[in-house]
Symmetry: D2
Subunit: 341 residues, 4 copies
């Protein structure tokens, strides 16, 4: 059995990690830590985790986190480096935060306003070379939820040399992506029946991560206009992505590129023609649904992807990467079915 700990387990990402780890046959759950919620019963803060109801959140500290095979970090930005430094190289540390995702220190500083902590192997195994980077690794940076949805949607077009630089992404997210801190604009009264955009104009912190991923696949800089929106649902990301179709691209060549990219992927499904992804179909699942179209009049490739931001977009992606790093079967313990309707 792999002994795991979850730091920051009282938030949404931490709760989803615990839900998945409870269902993982090769894992046992050790320390479960929190900050302001330390000392409270898990059942009070995460009432959906009935099997852990009697446990109590411990303080997030090196002592508590020591002695586990795998430590998941679901901490606010900027806290992971200090915690990871206390955990030896024998421990697999999987960071669900942003600290180690970006390769470019300048971009980090521009978007996060602090010193760059470094770069860890990136936990999106579906990207070209993605699995290789994770095998045997002892440090993993889990991608952001939006970059997961967008990169899965667009990388095949760039990998196949079909798409031009000027990508445009508008993504609709459920509210759990904004976290569990109580803010007035996230009240149920405010979000039910309402949709709005934020981070407009390229200021969302996931923008440089998307640019990094697509540029790496394309082998040249890709410009991305990214606008996230908040819509009235607890979970899910629907990413509507487009990029200029390079000359000669046909509907057939486009579909072939996507079929090839996802042919052997256990968690990414290119839908048959005529169907569109919905986030409802992937709630609680580690699944990504993708559809692709060529808009000849507009000269654009249009790709829509749907994921659960907490599962494939965070905790499920983290467990998938853990499985790869540890040499376990990649799909082990990960739900492939959504809870619908």
């Amino acid at each position: 059995m792999v002994r795991t700990a979850v730091a920051g387990a009282s938030g949404y990402a931490g709760g989803e990690l615990l839900r998945l780890l409870l269902g993982h046959p090769d894992v046992e759950i050790g320390a479960v830590t929190a900050a302001s919620n330390a000392g409270r019963p898990v059942g009070e803060v995460q009432p959906h985790l009935a099997p852990l109801a009697g446990r109590v959140f411990e303080e997030t500290s090196p002592q508590v986190l020591a002695g586990h095979d795998v430590v998941f970090l679901a901490l606010p930005h900027g806290q992971s480096a200090a915690v990871a430094a206390e955990l030896g190289d024998g421990t697999l540390v999987i960071d669900c935060g942003a600290d180690f995702r970006l390769e470019d220190a300048g971009e980090w500083e521009r978007f996060y306003g602090s010193a760059h902590a470094g770069t860890w192997p990136y936990g999106l195994p579906e990207l070209p070379g993605g699995r290789e980077a994770l095998r045997g690794s002892r440090r993993i940076a889990v991608p952001g939820c939006y970059p997961t949805a967008v990169s899965l949607a667009l990388f095949p077009a760039y990998a196949a040399g079909l798409a031009g630089s000027d990508a445009v992404v508008v993504a609709a997210s459920g509210t759990s992506g904004a976290g569990k801190a109580a803010k007035p604009h996230l009240l149920g009264s405010e979000v039910m029946g309402s949709a709005g955009a934020y981070g407009v104009g390229g200021s969302h912190r996931h923008t440089p991560e998307i640019v990094q991923n697509l540029s790496a696949v394309a082998g040249r800089p890709v410009r991305v206009s990214f606008t996230p929106t908040l819509v009235p649902m607890p979970r899910g990301i629907l990413a509507t992505c487009s990029a200029p179709a390079l000359p000669g691209v046909t509907a057939g060549s486009l579909r072939a590129a996507y079929e090839k990219a996802f042919a052997d992927e256990p968690f990414v499904h290119l839908l048959p023609e005529g169907r569109q992804p919905t986030t409802g179909a992937v709630v609680g699942a580690n699944t990504a649904l993708v559809q692709v179209a060529l808009d000849e009049a507009a000269g654009r490739i249009v790709v829509v992807s749907a994921i659960d931001n907490l599962t494939k977009g965070t905790a499920g992606g983290a467990v998938q990467s853990m499985n790869i790093a540890l040499g376990l079967p990649e799909e082990l313990g990960l739900p492939a079915t959504g809870v619908a309707p």
Copy 2:
């Protein structure tokens, strides 16, 4: 491996059965049948069941359903008897419909307007004597979703002789309880942002089933005023139940009765004092959450229970009963954690 078939698999109950059976380690899924959806791909109708996406719904017929160890029926009322008659006594038939729930033929005829098909062992193992009735059985009537929530909430008070006859139940249900047939009042535009009651005045068909269960436990007739309401969520039942507190009942004796009733139950959790059940905590789980209070000023015992109508209220209860009937561990393959938020 237990070989199972699901008849009526294109609806919500059928979809939930398939979701749970996919996660059951001792089960394999055989025939998957439908009526008007026969011939369509499962992935088109139930897009959340990715592992079955390539399967095609077959016609619901005795030939197709033959040769399975267990056949789940998720058919419209009145169709189960004919199908079951064609399946031999060696097959475990589990009916998620209403046909075999009621013991009183007169009540059946009054509420359903057709001839009574008979009475099968009742699939609510938590009721006194409930498990015994299911062990080795080859026919099981799965309770209605409301009767599950209400019976779990109130039976301990009646079993302990603490409650008088005049029970009042108001239950809020998510819309999946109303099924997948497209009706104008069930459109998203109609139900989002709106709550309403139906079956007011005791006309809902689950009323006699609730009366039957509580009267059996009490050992005398219990009168029940039952009003179901529809609220804007896809899943979940919140049952707010009350009954007169008999003389001498104290908060302590009441809580003790509930602690005793659920002490060994794997799926029913009496919450610690100060917490209330929410349906959000049991989405996708076979869990029931219960809290009990004594309102001394009103002279009433008040019990609130929360279940997922499709899981513990239908498909999960059906699989739990299957496990018992077949001698498998009762919890096998059943999720104990909800998908939240």
Copy 3:
């Protein structure tokens, strides 16, 4: 023109007051005050009030509130008395808080834990004698949202001597009833897809107000079991109310009592038989929809009412009472149509 001020205008009740006053032909809006939001633009806090977007919230103080014909108070409990004391008898003060609703000082102290401020004329004109109490008054206590829905539902049965004492009420409320203060359990992520009860066992502060109203109409003490629930919608209350049917009550006599009670009411509509109220039909309207049934098997009268908690349940009721107090047409400036779907 009647010159009005709204104190506590940055919350949900205050915002609804402003929305209605903007549409009132005989009213002009003077001071608009807030506590922690003082100094912020109205358009930032209440973005739906486009015509006031350029205004700025002032501090809530006697100086700012002086010089208006009508002052609406939408303040936290316990603050109204001090503010009202500074406003002369020439000013109509309409308190949307609880401070002056209860007649019994002991009940106030038991439920609110502070000294009783007094009792003002009660702003529910539909109650027997309700309008007379408001005409010419210079102080009005606006009822709580639940007591409005419940009292309208049950008073005709008690006024006609048809109902026994043991009333049971379960009411489903939208989240705006819980206010705009950011609390974790009110986050959109928590409330969407989830229903839960609170104040279980008679502890909700609206309980004594409901008891007071029904007992006054009945002419004897009425016991009430009241359980509020929170369901995933921003606005609306659906109150499912029942009381024992006294001997001799028939469906006909019951309906006749309700037809008589509401025959001349501009804002309360007894629905034709066969239709049920929904909260969606009264969003933004000062309308209450009511349906009544006799459950002979259970021996109970069952009444369902639907209101918008912010309109008829708070701000609309307040404006309706203002109209009566000032001798204006009762319906003036109040929307009779809901915003649906």
Copy 4:
């Protein structure tokens, strides 16, 4: 008083027309007609329209619609021409359907698959020259809901010569935009908690209307990639629009263009910097909220607009155009405040 009729009044657009006309001080409501709902009480089909509850839908026929000053058509595509032909030139006919929106017969035939009925003055007064085209007109084509939101968002950039051709629009719509016909994918169970795209790749019928509007303003062909998405709310459109920033465009010149375009508009509000439009703020209002940004890294102008699809996007826009055509004050009877939260 202007005597009005509404044909197709049992649907969502028709219901919204009636709601607005009930609040219009210079209008009286004459015939109210329907197709399959003819003969049913209005109160049964549109329960939110309490003042019309006792009316009965009449058949949609020339006889019934004759003798009104204004006839609003809210009919399925393809039916308006025949009805309008029977109404004389003295009647103002306002078509909420698509039949007369497009100028190019070829585009009509390509997207609608039928013969082009013609082109009427276009009811979007905010477009350059828009009001002039409507004054005194006796035929008006009400724009589609998406084209309203998108054209308001992008026309200032094209009118000021700041934007290049390759526009990309992703718009999130509430479900009422899909109408009231009961279809499985529009069930509450399906749409709550789920977001999905449709008409992907440029096939939505509003695409040529958007292209027409922007190209006319730009004075040259504008290419548009348009993807509509359905999100879990009953009302509202959030349009996230972008276009290449032409060389030399600055944040200042961009904002100045938008301030100029909307300076005198009664219903379109450019928000102060730092605020973003939400659809919740315009529910039930004829208001459009707009924000604009320059994404220098991506080289794109990004504009977000929010409207209520049924109000400004359909019925409110229709009444606004009626006011202009009849020489009434443009804002008469139109709500400027949203119903929020």
